[in-house]
Symmetry: C2
Subunit: 368 residues, 2 copies
């Protein structure tokens, strides 16, 4: 993001702005707090693509009545350790935390909880949900499908979302291990940056509309597709495709949401699929009591040992050795809590536009 001038904002300022924006559309205050928290955590952790940079899209969808600001979540079916939840077409930023809460409550009662959710929308960063579980000494999982962007291996069209998997494990003295990964080889945001910078991209990130691998990022927007993690057959592209399929089925087939290419679009400019096979998009949450498996402190001590052992791995020349999953996000958070959230000009312009349309005050640092 160094290619574009930016302004910096305290996290609390952005959080308060998005809370007011959600409330402007009739989202109840408690729900608006939840939703703005998910966005704030994303910005704090350096995942710029999923924070207030997306607020204008939520704003558009709420403005057009495409998202229900006051959903009544309904448990459609359940067992002591599982549930299917209908999100009533609410904000994923509200449905997600509430469905995750159901998973966590079940885990506290019977050892684990697993919740598949239909009729929901984009839920922010997957990593948010296991972070909430950590606060309760639970191992949390989160997955979601997303609008189609990725080709299955040997396919020449978009059939799956970037379908992320997140899970986290707490340490005692060490910070937690936080895993949050899309099942595509590269993030769509990287293609956008390459287009803006007019640079080529590595082979293995995308295919063009005929299905051939290409280094031209513009081929993506001209009918191309992202490749799954592993990229090609030789390097395990069938594995990334299988992981994405797993996420798709757990989130959507199990809950009754729109799977695969039929996921409804998140943003207005995106193509609406010709077929609907369920309701909205889908999420999948899991939570497991650590204490149900072994003493929680013993688990945390072993995680500390795991982290320290992996930090001591002999490094590849030219690197400082392996990171622990979650390191980059934690470093971003430390820096941003102190120095604020940097936003590029197009995002600032989006927020100013929302401010103009709603009357909710928003000013850049320079004017505050």
């Amino acid at each position: 993001m160094t290619d574009i001038a930016h302004h910096t904002f305290p996290s609390a300022y952005l959080r308060e702005f998005s809370r007011q924006v959600f409330m402007h559309f009739g989202v109840p205050e408690a729900d608006a707090r939840l939703a703005s928290d998910v966005l704030a955590v994303s910005d704090l952790r350096g995942i710029d693509s999923h924070g207030v940079a997306r607020l204008h899209t939520y704003f558009d969808m709420l403005s057009l009545g495409r998202i229900n600001p006051q959903p009544n979540l309904r448990v459609v079916r359940q067992t002591p350790s599982t549930a299917t939840v209908d999100g009533d077409n609410g904000l994923g930023l509200v449905v997600g935390p509430k469905a995750n809460e159901i998973a966590m409550e079940k885990a506290e009662r019977v050892g684990s909880g697993w919740v598949s959710v239909c009729n929901t929308n984009h839920f922010g960063i997957a990593g948010y949900y296991p972070l909430k579980a950590l606060e309760r000494n639970l191992i949390g999982w989160a997955m979601t499908n997303t609008t189609k962007l990725v080709a299955p291996l040997w396919g020449a069209e978009r059939m799956l979302g970037t379908n992320p998997i997140a899970i986290a494990f707490p340490g005692l003295e060490e910070p937690p291990i936080v895993i949050d990964l899309a099942t595509s080889a590269a993030a769509y945001g990287k293609i956008e940056i390459a287009i803006r910078q007019q640079k080529e991209i590595p082979l293995g990130w995308i295919i063009d509309q005929r299905g051939e691998t290409t280094t031209q990022p513009t081929d993506m927007v001209n009918g191309g597709a992202l490749l799954p993690l592993g990229s090609d057959r030789e390097h395990g592209g069938h594995k990334g495709y299988a992981l994405s399929a797993m996420v798709d089925i757990l989130c959507c087939v199990l809950s009754g949401a729109n799977w695969g290419p039929f996921a409804p679009p998140f943003a207005l400019r995106q193509h609406v699929p010709e077929r609907s096979v369920g309701k909205g998009i889908g999420h999948f949450f899991g939570a497991m009591q650590i204490e149900g498996f072994l003493d929680t402190n013993e688990f945390k001590r072993q995680i500390d040992d795991w982290i320290r052992t992996f930090r001591q791995t002999k490094p590849v020349p030219g690197t400082r050795g392996p990171l622990i999953p979650g390191d980059p996000e934690r470093e971003a958070e430390t820096h941003r809590r102190q120095h604020g959230i940097p936003l590029i000009q197009p995002v600032v312009n989006d927020l100013l536009d929302i401010s103009r349309q709603t009357g909710i005050p928003f000013t850049t640092t320079d004017d505050r």
Copy 2:
């Protein structure tokens, strides 16, 4: 495997031979049947590396008393939906199916079951376990750690196993989707084949002992390591590493087994780690009642639709389009049920050696 002459055996013949071999060491008959079933399914499904090709290794370990032929599995701790199991240093081929059974029973009682296992050994193909769950209309998961072979991204030494993840989903008229993938970029067996054929391997499969990527397969045996799925930072190698870490922690830290580089060796020739941080290796099993989420037949109908939709994906030129996970294994099974299991000469020699040492009859097709 076309580079070496082979003999062909009926699956039942190999199954019976391995059952007798396990019983020769005092493994109870029911357990010997379980263990030989896991090997037979692997051979039927075309995963040659994990079938009777491994019998001599089990034979060695049992001969030396390194594996307990009569383990008493113990549930160390449990909640209604989770359990920690101590495998009493039994064959993974026996401990695995029994721990998986506990997960499935819990799923039938409270919706889901999750079992982390310590003090166990190599459990065969991960895909075996979700196949058992399919028979009971459950969604089954299986993971295991294995002896270290894989470097974490930016690490120049072996720290993790190939740590597979398996999960399966039943169709109604279509065959099930069966996912079974190692979290490394390539299988170790492919390196061995390249060494035998004196061929180069693609960049992105392994690093040499200094941590540099290399096309020389012999660099693997000279202190090199496999790369995680994604291979390098640009193509998501940090994701494969994170998935492998997830498997390692769920299987080992949660159960009290030896995680990461401390996994004990499976075969005699392998290096014994200098430190022990738990008992044996670890597995993790999960099972979820489909009916707990939605009507089982409706789920299966949607899976049929999913499969048919993905089969209609526009193909990449030169391919027949995407496969459905499990296709190659199912095709192998159809063929091998009819035509038998092909074994290469070194494997036949291993079985003949076991026969000589135990007195259990084994002859090649030509003599039968």
